[in-house]
Amino acid sequence: MIGKLDIVTLQQIWWIICSIVGALFLFLNFVQGGQTLLWQVAKSDREKSLVINSLGRKWELTFTTLVLFGGALFAAFPKFYATSFGGAYWVWMLILFTFILQAVSYEYRTKPNNFLGARTYELFLFINGSVGILLIGAAVGTFFTGSNFTLNDFNQVTWTHPLRGVEAAFSLFNLSLGLFLVFNARVLGAMYLVNNVDFKGVPEFEARVRKSCLINFLCALPFLLYVVVSLLLIDGFATDAAGVVSMVAHKYLNNLLAMPIVLGLLLVGLFLVILGVTRTSLGRSTKGIWFGGLGTVFVGLAVFFTAGFNGTPFYPSKVDLQSSLTIYNASSSHYTLTAMCYVALFIPVVLAYIAYVWRQMDSKKIGMLDISDKKAY
């Protein structure tokens, strides 16, 4: 059945799937956000332990989603995988280093004889949540601001900037997007902790977490506004029917107007995040994470859809416009996209068992009993 679809439809389906995985990753960044909140909201070892143990049960989901994001892009858009990872070498390497640090930190932080000491592992977690997310934001920013590469006849990439990708972080737009993601992750982190931790006996700890949600949202706001306003004003990269790339005024504004669903996702998403913040910080609700999380997913989808649809190259080159990657020239073959669509039919099953398991595991909040267990982080 799927095999009957034309290649353009398959390419669009795969851009949607990759966008969903990417947007879910942004939601799951509540783990990274929580990591950077650690020193701020937890004042005693006990509070710290509650935060770490609450996040420590979810970090692998975020990590695995990142790995899947890489794998899905490789399978569906191999030219992007080859061009971006090989070209923007250092920005990706630095991101990966921070995730390598994260992967051992939960398990090793409180183990006896751990060589580096608990504070170092906490620092690793902080680096992952700050530098790692900032650079991911900068990398996503290049979807709109462009990168420095050319492709030859055989689609081999030459990067023309000596910083090999790190230059992305020196653009105000990319940097703002990165900082917005860092603060948004902290907002989500606070919402998640409010939902997941049993605060019995430590009300002042709970108050601190709830307050940090609002403060971080206020910190995120100027960066968000800068990104959104810039996006509406800047010239954007556009491809015509023949695949020729040119700069078009207000391209991304045009995209949002041409795709009202995407505009809707963006607005509803932002509204839901705000709702999550008010419910967490101004009310007593523990459900803010669901609003904030869904809102983040919507905003993420809007970002990726604006970048890739409506005749827009999602990985543009600013040094050679015609080398820019679109979802149509960067994709796998019809056969591979079809085969992978069948595989993707299992994604709902995966989501279902994850949801089932976590309903079982989270029916009781993380409390004192959990952190005194010898298995605790």
């Binding site: 790995v67 995988y81 070498y89 280093f97 051992v104 183990k111 689609n155 090999r164 992978m340 068992y353």
Partner: protein, 510 residues
């Protein structure tokens, strides 16, 4: 295509060796110990005895310490194909990307989700669900091995695909051929079964240490019984699948087989060298005897490789210089055809750009005649098609000797456990303490055979490694190599220190 910068290629190679071998220090333990934990916990659920629960928790603690660093060293491999081997990623991404994505969807989430239950769900879920989760972690880990080994198997034996000259890349034609390729199956079964041996010997090593010290004797003995049964069955199966791999190699990668068997000149009814020292300085075609010393099994190689004692097994020289009688084309001839294919591909691109359709069609037709030899066009000399023989040969033989030793060792452990005299056999326990390190070494050597024996190819006969790397200065790759080296070594020290302390603390600490 662009100029080749060999310094970059070699540093990218070094980095892959470093990261893959580091990662592989931890993976076999995960693959084997996950099943052992599932066995131990099944015993607990069946018998309801607390001592089995205690024992399970102890091994799970060690599993968790190992798992964390396995995850840390693994993430880079998913992205390294892009960062260091971007030409490769573009040329074969249409085929190679799929198993990696499937690995994420089918295996990693299974591991990640149920790992949390396995560690933190003892009080939060039912006994049955917890056991189910432990099994899911074991199955998920081994499923992830399946998909990455399918990807690796495809590099060794590229099937189910065709070259698309328009895009200058290989494209998938048949997913099932990729998944069920005989090399992929041999690779998966051999890699997982040998990893089960590593996991079993991990348990035997630590338990033997306890028995020698007279500590946690009951737990150690119980663990040894389960581990030695699992280890024995797995090592027998590993021997069987190893033989299957060699048989597959005879058809798919005869050069690799010739290299690890040290067979320079092919013959009918070829002997199998059981024990031998290679002549140092031996070069292809120099007429020297390849072995300074050897003990051979008559006609053994023909039997192993072709299942026929009289069959012809080609040697390295037959494969390089050709053997008309056996219908083997020389590499020089393949190179000529390959160079023609490269020229025609370039001509096709030029004609396409100039809008000269007839010239484009003509170039394409010429290209199609020689396209199977495209990869050979990038070789500089016929001898370049020969992998490093000594490294491949010695790694292979070390692996085989150790594999045989593990069969014997697990058999002895089982026998003395049955007689209940294991504690008195100090010599065996001392041997047992060393066994995990030997197993890990054998496992790494297996990868050396597989990967060094494949040189100079990234994709067998299709794409040489030197054409696969990213166009990036060697300095960048050196820098990231240095960072990986420092980072992974630091983490390894931490892991070993933590692991040793946990072993010292013993099951009371969990």
């Amino acid at each position: 295509m662009g100029e080749i910068d060999l310094a970059t290629v070699n540093w990218a190679r070094a980095q892959f060796i470093l990261t893959a071998m580091y990662h592989w220090l931890f993976v076999p333990i995960t693959l084997g110990l996950s099943f052992l934990c599932a066995f131990f916990e099944s015993m607990y659920v069946r018998t309801g005895k607390e001592e089995w629960k205690h024992l399970t928790k102890f091994w799970m603690t060690l599993f968790g310490i190992n798992f964390a660093i396995g995850v840390a060293t693994g993430i880079i491999l998913e992205f390294e194909f892009g960062t260091n081997w971007s030409n490769y990623s573009w040329m074969v991404g249409d085929i190679f990307g799929a198993p990696l994505a499937i690995e994420g969807i089918f295996a990693f989430f299974l591991e990640a989700t149920f790992f949390a239950v396995m560690f933190f769900g003892w009080e939060r879920t039912s006994k049955g669900f917890h056991l189910f989760s432990t099994w899911m972690v074991a199955i998920g880990s081994n499923l992830s091995a399946l998909w990455i080994l399918v990807a690796n198997g495809w590099m060794q034996y590229p099937v189910g695909m065709a070259f698309n000259p328009e895009n200058a890349r290989f494209e998938m034609q048949n997913f099932w051929e990729v998944l069920f390729s005989p090399v992929a199956i041999a690779k998966f079964t051999h890699t997982t079964s040998s990893s089960f041996v590593v996991g079993a010997l991990f348990v035997i090593t630590i338990s033997s240490y306890y028995l020698l010290k007279g500590r946690h004797v009951d737990m150690a003995k119980k663990s040894i019984i389960v581990a030695s049964v699992f280890g024995l069955l797995s090592s027998l199966f590993a021997a069987f699948t190893g033989d299957e791999s060699a048989y597959a190699n005879a058809y798919t990668q005869p050069m690799k087989l010739a290299a690890y068997e040290g067979l320079f000149t092919g013959s009918k009814g070829a002997d199998l060298v059981a024990l031998g020292l290679l002549t140092s300085g031996k070069k292809v075609g120099d007429g020297q005897d390849p072995f300074a010393f050897e003990v051979s099994i008559p006609r053994g190689l023909s039997l192993m490789a072709k299942r026929d004692v009289n069959a012809f097994v080609p040697g390295i020289e037959d494969l390089v210089y050709g053997n008309e009688a056996e219908g083997i084309m020389s590499v020089a001839e393949k190179m000529e055809k390959g160079k023609a294919a490269i020229a025609d591909l370039a001509a096709m691109k030029q004609a396409g750009k100039a809008g000269d359709e007839p010239a484009k069609t003509a170039a394409l037709e010429r290209f199609l005649v020689n396209q199977d030899y495209l990869g050979f066009g990038y070789l500089d000399t016929p001898e370049e098609s020969v992998p490093p023989v000594a490294t491949t040969y010695y790694s292979f033989h070390t692996m085989v000797y150790l594999g045989t030793f593990f069969i014997l060792l697990t058999l002895l452990y089982l026998y003395y456990s049955y007689k209940d005299t294991l504690e008195d056999k100090k010599w065996l326990l001392m041997l047992g303490v060393s066994s995990f390190f030997l197993a890990l070494f054998a496992s790494e050597m297996g990868w050396v055979v597989a990967e060094v024996g494949r040189q100079p190819w990234a994709i067998q006969d299709m794409l040489p490694v030197k054409m696969a790397s990213t166009n990036i200065g060697a300095g960048h790759v050196q820098a990231s190599f240095a960072i990986f080296f420092v980072l992974f070594t630091t983490l390894l020290i931490a892991e070993i220190k933590i692991m040793l302390r946990q072993i010292k603390i013993g099951p009371e600490g969990v």
